[in-house]
Symmetry: C2
Subunit: 210 residues, 2 copies
Amino acid sequence: MSSEPSPARPEPPPRARRPRRAFDRDAALAVALREFWTYGYESTSVSSLTKAMGINPPSLYAAFGDKRQLFSEAVELYSRTYGSVSLEGPDARTALARVLKHIAADYTDPSHPPGCLVITAATNGGPGSEDVKSELRAMREATKALFAARVQADIDEGLLPDDTDAEGLAVFYAAVVQGMNQQACDGVGREALERMVDVAMAAFPEPAGR
Amino acid sequence: MSSEPSPARPEPPPRARRPRRAFDRDAALAVALREFWTYGYESTSVSSLTKAMGINPPSLYAAFGDKRQLFSEAVELYSRTYGSVSLEGPDARTALARVLKHIAADYTDPSHPPGCLVITAATNGGPGSEDVKSELRAMREATKALFAARVQADIDEGLLPDDTDAEGLAVFYAAVVQGMNQQACDGVGREALERMVDVAMAAFPEPAGR
DNA sequence: CTGCTTCCTTAGCGATCGCTACAGCTGGCG
DNA sequence: CGCCAGCTGTAGCGATCGCTAAGGAAGCAG
């Protein structure tokens, strides 16, 4: 439908006019992330967000759409910055132990809010924020599936017995991570969580013996 | 201090006039418990409570004080009805295994909301409901202390080695319970949780050698 | 400079929050 | 019966929620 009567024009109309913003969008998003991380989705109000970001509501809505989309962008930034999990390593046991130790340190790192945003930020929340809850739940299940796949890889390579319960192990270690989250939010320190990881790793099955 | 000037009077003035209520207080409290259990403290509004209980706001405030006190009464009813944990048994391992199996069944019981009210109902919630959060956190820490005491009792009786990390085990099994809560809220079924308990019990230390 | 576009600011929208004033009804008492 | 106490329903309080209309300030084209 777009009429272009002058073919001599070198610049077509769809020239994306970059918004001239008076504030740092990335910095504001980082601030919003900390707010959501600390208080959760529903308990973080737009007014507290705008106050923390140093902007006014219309600026927030112009830059991020609405509170819901801002939260999704914050979650994306979180999983890009903090929430990345790599299960590389010689075997599943080593990889899991390393990931759990890293989580013990990260969840209690005093330079940011305790625990994990994906686990904590939408556990409560009545009807109306059902899509937020399912968004985070999907991420949790993805992590659990990652655990299961890593264990299954060891089984396929013969490092673990064929009758190893990969699903049960995945549910278990996902629950351990979520329990560490709760403990960290309750004030348990890094050393206690690391000792807990030692206990949890004792539950890992023995390698396939000769 | 109570003055009773007329000894002939069989009924003293402090005769507690039982309120003439037009609704069943206990039944209404049970309904409120389910609401808080499902949506958490902050996300459960007074209007949704009164609608579910079949009463009007003034009746709620006359019978329970305010939303905060109603919640505490609901928590008390919960811990009296569902949340009781008994660690009796021949040794800590048996007792813990029984408790965890019971929890696996209870958190996924379809006859009531999933998971545990004490763990779930106040994880989010901004400033202003800090006392609610600390109330539930204290109950969680009491359970964790119960775990530690049960393990320590086995150590004192010589059933477990002296160098057993009672605190680490308590943190671990508390985290397992809290992880089961999250998994149950995410839709994991009873059988998967029970297999997970088997994995978790594999982390329990071997009894003290002969 | 004048126009045009785009953002920021102020102010406030309707809805809902926890909570309560007020009047009416109802039951126990003399 | 009349009186009073105490609960019940209606209606609404001030505050906050997520969100937005309207006008002024600022950069770019001519």
